[in-house]
């Protein structure tokens, strides 16, 4: 007995470069100082590697090898891959082993897990291109599906990404875009043309060879995803303790073409610790699914296999994301320090690029990572606690203090050579 419902697993893997305790006296101090807390970043990476990445990858490899219909997809941020190189060759190797099975899909995202889409189309294209190249180099596959940072999505992004060459994009199945419909089918964005200049920019910086004629949107089934990611070990939850067969029952009752279970990879072992039984839960799923004839599909498989005369249109005029209760941009933008931080960062874009200095560009790009702005969030309600849980700093204001110092120093480094130039020009003038 086979069901027509496919399970689509996607795991997000990301680690930011957290900032060190920069001081005002550091600004302009050394030419090549780092802004990042190497010790802390290494420590966090190793902790998560031991608790999550290594055991979870070992488990996934085992399951992929054992069950012919078990498939999964990842999006690994570029800054995560950089940290793998620095702090975790073992983790990198375990992802490459997964890639070699041919049953694991790697998606594209902005290399720096950034908010660049909100501020600069050329920079957004550049970061995606850099990421695609890295995935090709590491895993010998070319991503055909895009997922934007924290599933930030809108009608326009879908069209931009289509023109970049992708056939699919992921988004949050937020109630306000679904309007009561099930998220368990591929959707399409409304059709429209982008302004000419945007189309030209995209054509100029396109990461893939040619644009895609159409694009499908896969929506996260947030109820079922969050049952695993957030509620699994919540003793006050009616579903506790959650068993693999019960969860499978829920999946089947939900039905549809594809059930998209999208979550942070750190769910396994880090947010839900091993002693909650999360690994056993995952281990038990494929066996039950095999027994009941349930198959997995990666995002590109879901889209390739989708044949329907009519298409469901998903209309997202305003941004949706998978963050917080609001599922909008308010985790990263909205208060004065968040807005100022992102605006001043991108105010430096042209100067940084004009400097032709790769170190400055790399540093500037690392500051575009969304986490820096997430840590500055001061929203009042309960999600504030989530931000606190994920923040390495004492407070949103501490996050801003460090970030603004980094930016001040970067600005100085970008401007200094210019000053020298003008000085020497002045000298020349006075000589002549």
């Amino acid at each position: 007995m086979n069901t027509n419902t496919n399970i689509c697993f996607y795991f997000q893997v990301h680690q930011p470069y957290r900032l060190r305790d920069l001081r005002i006296t550091d600004i302009g101090a050394e030419q090549d100082q780092t802004y990042f807390d190497e010790e802390k970043n290494r420590a966090v990476f190793r902790k998560v590697a031991e608790k999550c990445y290594l055991p979870a990858n070992a488990l996934m490899l085992e399951l992929v090898n054992q069950y012919p219909h078990f498939r999964i997809a990842y999006s690994l941020s570029g800054v995560f891959l950089d940290q793998c190189e620095e702090y975790g060759p073992d983790v990198m190797e375990s992802f490459r082993a997964l890639a070699r099975t041919g049953k694991v899909e790697f998606m594209a995202e902005t290399y720096y897990h950034s908010l660049s889409y909100l501020k600069s189309l050329p920079e957004f294209c550049a970061q995606v291109s850099k990421h695609v190249a890295r995935i090709q180099e590491l895993f010998s596959q070319t991503p055909s599906i895009f997922r934007n940072t924290e599933l930030i999505y809108s009608n326009e992004i879908a069209q931009v990404v289509r023109l970049m060459g992708f056939k699919g994009i992921l988004a949050e199945g937020a109630d306000r875009v679904l309007n009561g419909r099930s998220p368990n089918e591929p959707f399409v964005p409304p059709e429209f043309r982008l302004p000419k200049n945007k189309e030209m920019t995209i054509a100029k910086f396109r990461p893939l060879e040619k644009k895609s004629d159409d694009i499908h949107v896969l929506l996260k089934n947030y109820r079922l995803s969050d049952d695993v990611a957030f509620r699994f070990s919540d003793k006050s939850w009616v579903g506790f303790p959650l068993h693999a067969d019960t969860f499978t029952d829920w999946l089947m009752q939900t039905g549809g073409n594809n059930i998209n279970l999208f979550m942070d990879y750190e769910t396994f072992g880090e947010h839900q610790w091993a002693d909650t039984g999360i690994f056993d839960f995952v281990r038990a799923l494929p066996a039950i699914w095999q027994e009941r004839g349930i198959h997995c599909a990666t995002p590109s498989q879901v889209i390739d296999n989708w044949q329907s005369i009519h298409e469901n249109v998903i209309d997202a005029h305003t941004f949706v994301s998978w963050a917080d209760m609001e599922r909008d941009l308010s985790a990263w933008q909205g208060n004065k320090i968040q807005d100022a931080a992102l605006a001043s960062l991108f105010a430096l874009e042209s100067a940084v690029k004009a400097s032709k200095n790769p170190d400055l560009l790399e540093t500037w790009r690392k500051l575009s990572t969304s986490d820096h702005f997430y840590y500055m969030c001061t929203k009042y309600w309960a999600d504030g606690d989530v931000h606190k849980y994920f923040s390495p700093y004492d407070s949103p204001y501490e996050a801003y203090r460090r970030f603004s110092h980094a930016l001040c120093d970067l600005k100085l480094r970008v401007e200094q050579p210019k000053k020298k130039q003008t000085k020497s020009k002045l000298k020349q003038k006075s000589h002549s």
Binding site: I24, K336, I337, A340, Y397, R401, H405, C408
Partner: protein
Amino acid sequence: MNMHTLMFGWEYPPHHSGGLGVACQGLVRGLMKNGVHVTLVLPHNQGIPEGNMDMRFPTDELCETVQVESLLQPYDTFGEYDARLQITNLPRESGALYGPDLGQAVENFTAMSIAMTKDVRADVVHAHDWMTFEAGRRAANYHGKPFIAHVHATELDRTNFSPNTWIAERERNGLLAADQIIAVSQYTKNLLANHYGIPTDKIRVVHNGHDQKAALTQPLLMTKYGDEKRPLVLFLGRLTVQKNPWQFLEVAKRVHDVSLQVQFVMAGDGGMLSELIDRTCELGLEDSVIFTGKVQGREIDALYKRADCFVMPSLSEPFGLVALEAIAHNTPVIVSKQSGVAEVLDHAFKVDYWDTDMMADCLLTILREKPLADQLKAEAPRILTRLTWKNQASKVSSIYRDIIQS
């Protein structure tokens, strides 16, 4: 039927020297708003009763009839008495109010506690800080009612953990005798548990409140305090060890090394004034630091308003009402982590009292980054809508209810 509290206080505005009087007034007003009947006993007749509160103090007749025990441990010197006045929150001039000796004043108050309250039919007895604990205990005993000790500050806070043993002893005895203790912060609760050995289940935390004053028509600034175009950083508090004004100067020095623009105002009076002035000169800050001496009323308001940042570097601060005052004037604040107010502030920098570099860094960041200052100004005052005295007093009133019923 409405509850009735018999309260022993030490000072009450307009005649007060520090946070204790302000907090006592806020709480009394808040309790009355919660329908609690208040009888407040003070050691002097300078308070002005308001609403339907019953305010009492020793009368001359009473003083004549009540036998006051002499102190077991009289002070040796005038200097020691003077020093004691300093550390117990009291301005020098108030010595007259309490007789020649503070210890004697406490004894007088204690001795008359029963005689002054014989006719009061209260449900609970509630005393504020060590000076009133023994008076409260005796009255509670006499009336057969539960005794609540409210801790606004401990001897350890005031003395950088080198307590006057006579005071610390009285404090401890009061705390041990209490049926219930109210601490003004978790910070103070921890201190009572760790240093006085009080079981934590006996201590409840009720943070101090803050009531927005009606906007004054014209805040009055006696002088302009330097150049109005230059940023101004404010310290306001007694110049005593506890408030850590020394640290403020060290911070000023660090800031001065980066920016000569910034001006510093130290508002307040206290025993450390002359050494602080010497230190200012030593650090070469004589052109950047202004000492105002004691400031009051409208001038305080004007200073808060004028300031670009308020710094409270206290060594050990049970609460720290000044930080709420600054916030009420839309001034960004940096507070010591060793303070109670840090527990209720979300939109502020919190720094260890000893971390000079970090304090200076936060300060310079606030002055440099307008969006940061704007956000602190906009967000911080939200807490004040929650921390009204009416709200905080309702917590005290439910503590009354719990203890009456138990």
